[in-house]
C-alpha cells in the first residue's frame, strides 16, 4: 500500500483548509452523515434553486479522507442539476467498488479520481464514501 497515493497533496489540501468547510444560511437541505466505525460525523448543506445545486458546504468532524472526499464532492456538484449530482455519486461508488472501470466513464469525477486507490485501504473505504452516500440520501 502506498501512503503517498492516499495522502496526496490534493487530498491534504482539501482536508485541511477547505473553502467548502463553512455553513450556509437557510439551506434547502441539511443532512448528517455518520461513520460509526471511526466517528466521522459530517453535515452536508445544500441550496437548491429549481433543480440546480446553487451552493453546498459541510461542517463537522472527520478524518482527512472523509473531509477531503466531502470537499471534492462539493466542488464537483456545485451548479449541477440534482440528476447530474446523483449520477456522479453512482459513478464514484461504482469506481470505489471497482464496478465502473471504463476511464471515459470515470472522467466526469475529475479530482475525485484521487480516491480510486482507496480500495487498497479497505478500512478507509467508508470514510471516502460517507459524503457521497449522505448526498444521495438527502437528494432522494
Amino acid at each position: 500500500m502506498d501512503l503517498n497515493s492516499i495522502y496526496s497533496e490534493l487530498i491534504l489540501e482539501h482536508s485541511q483548509n477547505s473553502h467548502n468547510y463553512r455553513r450556509i444560511d437557510a439551506p434547502t437541505l441539511s443532512h448528517k452523515g455518520h461513520n460509526p466505525s471511526c466517528g466521522d460525523e459530517i453535515t452536508l448543506q445544500l441550496k437548491l434553486e429549481s433543480e440546480i445545486i446553487k451552493d453546498a458546504a459541510f461542517s463537522g468532524v472527520g478524518c482527512a479522507i472523509s473531509k477531503a472526499s466531502t470537499s471534492i464532492l462539493i466542488d464537483l456538484i456545485t451548479d449541477k442539476t440534482k440528476q447530474e449530482a446523483l449520477n456522479l455519486v453512482d459513478t464514484f461508488i461504482g469506481m470505489i467498488k471497482r464496478e465502473v472501470t471504463n476511464e471515459e466513464e470515470l472522467e466526469i469525477l475529475e479530482d475525485a479520481l484521487a480516491f480510486q486507490n482507496i480500495s487498497n485501504l479497505p478500512a478507509r473505504v467508508k470514510c471516502a464514501v460517507l459524503a457521497w452516500h449522505t448526498l444521495k440520501k438527502s437528494l432522494e
Binding site: M1, L3, E9, D40, I65
Partner: protein, 411 residues
C-alpha cells in the same frame, strides 16, 4: 528476561508475520489477543481425538468431551477463586453474559422507580442491556462520572448509590482509557443498601489476579478471546444463591430435568443456564489459555505489562504532538493507552501506523457516551500484552513521529 521473551514469542505464530512487508507489531490486545500454539493445538487435538456431544452419551468420546468441558469449568473456577464450579456458566462472550443478567436476573429484580447505576466508562455491552431494563421496567439509569484523571470520584459513588439502587454494573478496567475502578469501595457501598454488583471483567480478568470473594461482587462477566482463548467462549460468574434464583435465559436441550407435554422442570446449576450443545472446543481453549497464563504466572504477566505501559507512557509524554487521555499514573491503569496526535484524526493515525506494520485501534472503542463526555470524537488506542516488547514500543513511537509529516504538517 531476554530468553524468556524469545521463548514466549515463539509460542504465538501470528506475531512473527509480515504485514505490508513490515514485521507485525500488535498493539490491539484490548480488542482481542493472539493465541499461543498450545491453544491452537488443543483445538486440533480435540477434533482429531475427542469430538462428541457432552452430557449426552455413555460412549467413550462423549465421556471424554464431558470431562474436558467440566475440567474447563473447574479451571475457570480456580482462576477467579469462585467457591463452586456451579457458579461458572459458559456463554458466548461478555456481551451475552450481561444480556443473560439483564433479562433473566434484573428483569425480575428491578421495579418501577428503582435505579440502576453504571459508570460513564462503560463499553456499550455494559450499557445497552441496562438501558433496556430501565426502559421496560420504568427504572432510572444513573451514571458515575469522572475526575480529570478518568478515575471515579468517591463523592460520585456516595451520591449516586442510594437506597433506590437495585443494581450496580461497572467495568473493572476501562477499555477506552485503561483506568482501574475502585471496585471494593463500590461493592461495600452498594451492599449497604442491598444493591447487587455486576463486574465487567472483560479487560481485567486477562491481566490481573481476580478473587471474586475479595472483590465482594455478586456477578462477573468476561470473554475468552481477550485472554489467549478462542472467540465464542465467555463466562458468567454469579454467587450460587443468586444464580439459583435466576430464570433460564434459553430453553431447550441440556437444561432440563423432566419434560412432559405441557411443562418441564429444569436441571441444576450450572446446566440450567446452558441450553443446547455447548462450545466444548471453546471451553477447552479457555482452559488451555488459563493453564498457559498460570504457567507464566499472573504476577509476572502483570509486572511485564506494567513495565511496558510505564515505558510507553513516558515516551509518549515526551512527544509534544501527543495528547494523552486517562490517568498519568501508570499504577492506576492497565496496559491501555489512549491518545491523539494534534491536528490528526485517529483514523488517519491508525492507517499510517498500519502502513508501518503497527496495529492499533482508532475510534470510539464502543464507548460513545464516554467520548461525548470527554468531548473528543475518537481516540487512538495502543494496548499491550506480556508478549509485546520495548523494542516494539520504540518502533511504534518512531512511527508516530512520522504521522504529522504524512499529513503535511512540518513536524
Amino acid at each position: 528476561m531476554q530468553n524468556f521473551m524469545q521463548d514466549i514469542r515463539k509460542d504465538f505464530p501470528a506475531l512473527s508475520q509480515q504485514i505490508n512487508e513490515k514485521s507485525l507489531i500488535y498493539f490491539d490486545n484490548a480488542a482481542t489477543t493472539h493465541k499461543p500454539k498450545q491453544v491452537i493445538d488443543a483445538l486440533t487435538t480435540y477434533y482429531e481425538k475427542f469430538n462428541a456431544n457432552p452430557h449426552r452419551g455413555a460412549h467413550y468420546l462423549s465421556i471424554k468431551s464431558t470431562e474436558i468441558y467440566e475440567d474447563a469449568r473447574e479451571t475457570v473456577r480456580k482462576f477467579i477463586h469462585a467457591k463452586s464450579s456451579k457458579e461458572i456458566i459458559f456463554t458466548k462472550n461478555a456481551t451475552e453474559s450481561l444480556n443473560i443478567l439483564a433479562f433473566s436476573y434484573a428483569m425480575n429484580l428491578v421495579e418501577e422507580g428503582d435505579e440502576i447505576v453504571v459508570s460513564i466508562l462503560e463499553h456499550h455491552s455494559n450499557l445497552l442491556p441496562w438501558q433496556q431494563v430501565a426502559k421496560l421496567k420504568g427504572a432510572t439509569l444513573k451514571f458515575l462520572y469522572l475526575n480529570k484523571d478518568g478515575g471515579i470520584k468517591d463523592t460520585e459513588i456516595e451520591s449516586k448509590i442510594t437506597k433506590k439502587t437495585k443494581l450496580v454494573s461497572i467495568t473493572h478496567m476501562s477499555n477506552a482509557l485503561g483506568n482501574i475502578n475502585p471496585i471494593e469501595k463500590i461493592t461495600t457501598y452498594a451492599h449497604q443498601y442491598g444493591a447487587k454488583v455486576i463486574l465487567d471483567g472483560a479487560q481485567s480478568v486477562p491481566h490481573m489476579t481476580i478473587d471474586v470473594g475479595k472483590l465482594g461482587i455478586d456477578f462477573m462477566v468476561f470473554s475468552g478471546h481477550k485472554m489467549l482463548a478462542p472467540m465464542g467462549i465467555g463466562v458468567l460468574y454469579g454467587k450460587e444463591a443468586l444464580l439459583k434464583e435466576m430464570k433460564p435465559f434459553l430453553f431447550g436441550g441440556n437444561m432440563i430435568e423432566y419434560v412432559y407435554e405441557d411443562y418441564a422442570s429444569f436441571a441444576e446449576l450450572p446446566f440450567k443456564l446452558e441450553a443446547g450443545t455447548q462450545n466444548v472446543e471453546g471451553a477447552l481453549g479457555l482452559m488451555t489459555a488459563i493453564n498457559y497464563i498460570n504457567e507464566i504466572g499472573m504476577e509476572k504477566i502483570q509486572a511485564i505489562e506494567a513495565d511496558l505501559t510505564s515505558y510507553a507512557l513516558e515516551k509518549l509524554t515526551n512527544l509534544d504532538e501527543v495528547v494523552l487521555y486517562g490517568s498519568k499514573n501508570s499504577k492506576d491503569r492497565g496496559a491501555v493507552i489512549s491518545f491523539n496526535i494534534k491536528d490528526v484524526h485517529p483514523h488517519d493515525t491508525a492507517s499510517i501506523l498500519d502502513s508501518y506494520g503497527v496495529a492499533v485501534r482508532a475510534g470510539h472503542h464502543c464507548a460513545q457516551p464516554l467520548m461525548r463526555y470527554l468531548e473528543i470524537p475518537a481516540t487512538t488506542r495502543a494496548s499491550f500484552s506480556f508478549y509485546n516488547t520495548k523494542e516494539e514500543i520504540d518502533f511504534f513511537v518512531e512511527s508516530l513521529k512520522k504521522v504529522r509529516r504524512w499529513l503535511g504538517y512540518g513536524s
